[in-house]
C-alpha cells in the first residue's frame, strides 16, 4: 500500500471536518441501531460501523457539482452531500419528511439537487447508472465526476463488469470503488471470488486500480482525490479497493456469528475514529478536549434530529398511489 504524507496533503480544516463527519456518522448510526433494538425502526438497518472512513473520505474529496451513486454503508457520504440527520432519521422512521417521503427506507435516499443517485438494493445496479451520469457529463463537456461503488459481493454481479467495461472503453469521468469488508452478508470473499484482491478485476478492463487502507480516512481521501483528478482530466475511470472490515452484522438483526471473534478483535484496533484521533494528536491539529466537544455536539444534533423526525407526519396510506409516473413539468421541456 502507498504511504501518504498526510501532514502535507490534507489541510487542518479538511482534517477537522472529516473527523466531525466520522463522529456524526458513528453516533447517528449508533442511534439508529438503538432505535431498531427498541422496535421504533422497522425494516432493514444497515450500518457502516467500523467503515465510516470510506464514505467520509471519498465524499470529502468531491466538489459540489459532482455526483455520487453510493453504497448502502455510505452514511457519511449522504451527510457530507447535505442530507441532514433529521432527514435520515425521518427516512428510517418512514416519515413524509424523509428524502423518499416514506416510499423507501433506510439508506435508499436520493436527491438530484444534492448530487445523490438513490441506492438500489440489487447490488451493483447503480454502477451502470453512474456510468451513464458520467457519460452525460462527457457528452456535454462538463468537468464533473461521478463516484460510485459496491461491496466485495457486488463485484460478482454482471452490472459491475458491464459498467467498468463501458466506462473504460469510453474513458468516462467516473470513479469506482469496492469497500471490501470481507463479508457479503455471511459469505466470505474466499467463496465470492478466486482472487485475493478485488482490485485485480480492474486489469481486465484496462483500468488502473489501487488498494487503499479503508480504515484510514486520510488514505481514502487522498486516493479519491487522485482518482477524481484523473477522471476530471479526461483520463478515464479508476478503481479503488478500500480494505476494511464490517464490524456489525449485515443488518442489525444479524448477530454475524459466522465472523471469527479474533478477526473482529484485530480490526477493532484499527477503528477509523481512533486512528483519526491518533493522527490528529500527532499532527497537533486537535486535542482530547476537541474530541469531547465534537462528541457532545453531534449528540445534540442527533437529539434535535430525532425530535424533528419523531414530530414529522407519517404519510397517509393513499399516498401510495402517487408518483408512479413523472409529470411533464418535472423535466426541462
Amino acid at each position: 500500500m502507498d504511504r501518504v504524507d498526510v501532514a502535507n496533503d490534507i489541510k487542518r480544516a479538511e482534517w477537522l471536518q472529516m473527523y466531525y463527519y466520522l463522529r456524526l456518522t458513528r453516533s447517528l448510526e449508533d442511534r439508529i441501531s438503538a432505535l431498531y433494538r427498541q422496535g421504533r425502526i422497522v425494516g432493514g438497518c444497515y450500518t457502516s460501523h467500523g467503515m465510516e472512513a470510506i464514505a467520509v473520505g471519498y465524499a470529502s474529496a468531491l466538489e459540489r457539482d459532482d455526483v455520487i451513486a453510493p453504497f448502502h454503508r455510505d452514511m457519511g457520504a449522504f451527510l457530507i452531500r447535505g442530507i441532514t440527520p433529521g432527514e435520515v432519521l425521518a427516512q428510517y422512521l418512514g416519515k413524509r419528511t424523509g428524502p423518499t417521503k416514506g416510499k423507501d427506507g433506510n439508506v435508499h435516499m436520493g436527491d438530484l439537487k444534492r448530487g445523490i443517485i438513490g441506492f438500489v438494493s440489487h447490488l451493483a445496479d447503480n454502477l451502470p447508472v453512474a456510468t451513464g451520469a458520467a457519460l452525460a457529463f462527457k457528452i456535454r463537456g462538463e468537468r464533473r465526476v461521478v463516484f460510485t461503488g459496491t461491496g466485495d459481493g457486488g463485484t460478482s454481479r454482471g452490472d459491475f463488469h458491464e459498467a467498468m467495461n463501458f466506462a473504460s472503453v469510453r474513458k468516462l469521468p467516473v470513479v469506482f470503488f469496492c469497500n471490501n469488508n470481507q463479508y457479503a452478508y455471511s459469505t466470505p470473499t474466499r467463496l465470492q471470488m478466486a482472487i485475493a484482491d478485488v482490485v485485480d478485476r480492474a486489469k481486465a478492463y484496462g483500468m488502473p486500480g489501487e488498494i487503499v487502507d479503508g480504515n484510514d480516512v486520510a488514505a481514502v481521501f487522498l486516493a479519491a482525490k487522485r482518482a477524481i483528478a484523473r477522471a476530471r482530466a479526461g483520463e478515464g475511470p479508476t478503481f479503488l479497493e478500500f480494505k476494511t472490515m464490517r464490524m456489525h452484522g449485515h443488518s442489525e438483526h444479524d448477530a454475524a456469528k459466522y465472523v471469527p471473534r479474533e478477526l473482529l478483535e484485530e480490526w477493532k484496533k484499527k477503528d477509523p475514529i481512533l486512528r483519526a484521533e491518533q493522527r490528529l494528536l500527532e499532527l497537533g491539529y486537535a486535542d482530547e478536549a476537541h474530541f469531547r466537544d465534537v462528541g457532545l455536539r453531534v449528540q445534540k444534533e442527533i437529539d434535535a434530529a430525532l425530535e424533528f423526525a419523531e414530530q414529522s407526519p407519517l404519510p397517509e396510506g393513499r399516498e401510495v398511489l402517487e408518483g408512479v409516473f413523472a409529470n411533464p413539468d418535472e423535466v426541462e421541456p
Binding site: 436520493g110 438513490g118 440489487h122 459498467a163 463501458f166 408518483g323
Partner: protein, 329 residues
C-alpha cells in the same frame, strides 16, 4: 407538396425520421445500442446517423444490454434524452433488472424522472426462431412505472416515437419487425406526435370489438373484411399504447358492440388480453352479450421452422373463427 407527389414512407423509415427529427430538434437526444453507428443498426434504422451526429450522439456500445440501459438511466437523470436500441426485443431480458428495478421505480421511490426510450424490435413472422421473434411486452406490462407503446402504422410509428422521446418517463417502444418494410403511407410534413395513452378505431363496426395492437391490427382488418361479407360488422380497436391503456376507447367500443375478442401475438397466458378480459368483466359486465375471447400465440417459445412458426402465429382465420363463434351468442 400535395399528396399526389408526396412520397410514401415505410414503417421503418418513419422510425428513422422520428429519431432524426428529434435529434435535430433537441440536442439532448442521443442514441445508444449495438452496431447502430458505422453499420447503421441491424435493421438500418440509424443508417447515416453517425456521420450526421457524431460518435457521442450515436454510441456503439459493448454487447451489454444491462450496462447500456443502466447508462441511459443515469444520462436521463442528468438531463439528457437517451434512446437505446435493443437489437432484438428478445435481448431486453438481459436488461430486465435495470428496466424494472431501476428505471421503473426511480421516480416513485425518490422523485427523479427518467426520460428515456427503449426501442424493442419485436414479433415473429420473420423466421427468427426462439431468440429473435419474441413479444416480451407482457413482462413490462406488469411493472408499474413504465409506459409501453406498440405502433401498427408508419404514421403512428413516427408520432408515438416522438411522443415517447418527449415523455418524462421510461417508455418501451415495441416496433414490429414484420411491418418494417411491408407497409407504407404518406406522412404529414409538419411535426406531429401521437399522444401516449390514446387508442384508435381502425374500422368501425357494431357487432364485435376486436382489440389488438402491433402487426395483429392488420390481421384483424383482414378478418373484419372477410366477416363483413358474412354480415358481421367488426370494430377494430388498435391500442397503440399498452400502458397506459385507453380505457375510454376500449370500453366505449365494447359497450356499443357487447362482444370482444382480444388478439395478440404474445403468448396467451398472462398476456395483455387476459388483463383486458378482466377489465371488461369488472367494468363493462352489463354490456356484455357473450364471453370475452382471446386469439393469441400458444404458450410455447417462438419456433423456427416455417410450418411451426405458421402454426404458432395467430392468423386472420383464427379471428374469423372466434368472431363466428361469438356472433352466435
Amino acid at each position: 407538396m400535395n399528396s399526389a407527389t408526396a412520397t410514401e414512407v415505410t414503417y421503418l423509415e418513419a422510425i428513422s425520421q422520428a429519431l432524426d427529427e428529434e435529434m435535430t430538434r433537441d440536442e439532448r437526444v442521443f442514441l445508444m445500442g449495438e452496431d447502430i453507428g458505422a453499420y447503421g443498426g441491424a435493421f438500418k434504422i440509424t443508417e447515416g446517423f453517425l456521420e450526421k451526429y457524431g460518435e457521442w450522439r450515436v454510441l456503439d456500445t459493448p454487447l451489454s444490454e444491462s450496462g447500456f440501459v443502466g447508462a441511459a438511466i443515469g444520462a436521463a437523470m442528468m438531463g439528457l434524452r437517451p434512446v437505446v436500441e435493443m437489437q432484438f426485443a428478445d435481448f431486453i431480458s438481459c436488461a430486465f433488472d435495470q428496466i424494472t428495478e431501476v428505471a421503473a421505480k426511480n421516480h416513485y421511490r425518490w422523485g427523479a424522472p427518467v426520460p428515456m426510450v427503449i426501442r424493442a424490435p419485436f414479433g415473429g413472422g420473420v423466421h427468427g426462431g426462439p431468440f429473435h421473434s419474441e413479444c416480451p411486452e407482457g413482462w413490462f406490462f406488469h411493472s408499474p412505472g413504465l409506459k409501453l407503446v406498440a405502433p401498427s402504422t408508419p404514421y403512428d410509428a413516427k408520432g408515438l416515437l416522438k411522443a415517447a422521446i418527449r415523455d418524462p418517463n421510461p417508455v418501451i417502444y415495441f416496433e414490429h419487425k414484420f411491418l418494417y418494410r411491408r407497409i407504407k403511407e404518406v406522412l404529414p410534413r409538419e411535426d406531429y406526435i401521437v399522444p401516449i395513452g390514446k387508442a384508435a378505431i381502425r374500422r368501425p363496426g357494431n357487432d364485435i370489438s376486436v382489440i389488438t395492437y402491433g402487426a395483429m391490427v392488420h390481421l384483424a382488418l383482414e378478418a373484419a373484411q372477410q366477416l363483413a361479407a358474412e354480415g358481421i360488422e367488426v370494430e377494430v380497436v388498435d391500442l397503440r399504447s399498452l400502458m397506459p391503456l385507453d380505457k375510454d376507447t376500449i370500453y366505449g367500443s365494447v359497450r356499443k358492440t357487447g362482444k370482444a375478442i382480444m388478439v395478440h401475438e404474445d403468448n396467451k397466458t398472462g398476456g395483455i388480453g387476459a388483463e383486458l378480459a378482466a377489465l371488461l368483466t369488472e367494468d363493462c359486465f352489463d354490456s356484455l352479450d357473450g364471453p370475452i375471447l382471446r386469439v393469441a400465440a400458444p404458450d410455447t417459445p417462438v419456433p423456427f421452422s416455417t410450418p411451426l412458426e405458421e402454426f404458432f402465429l395467430p392468423k386472420a382465420s383464427d379471428i374469423v373463427a372466434a368472431a363466428r363463434k361469438l356472433a352466435a351468442y
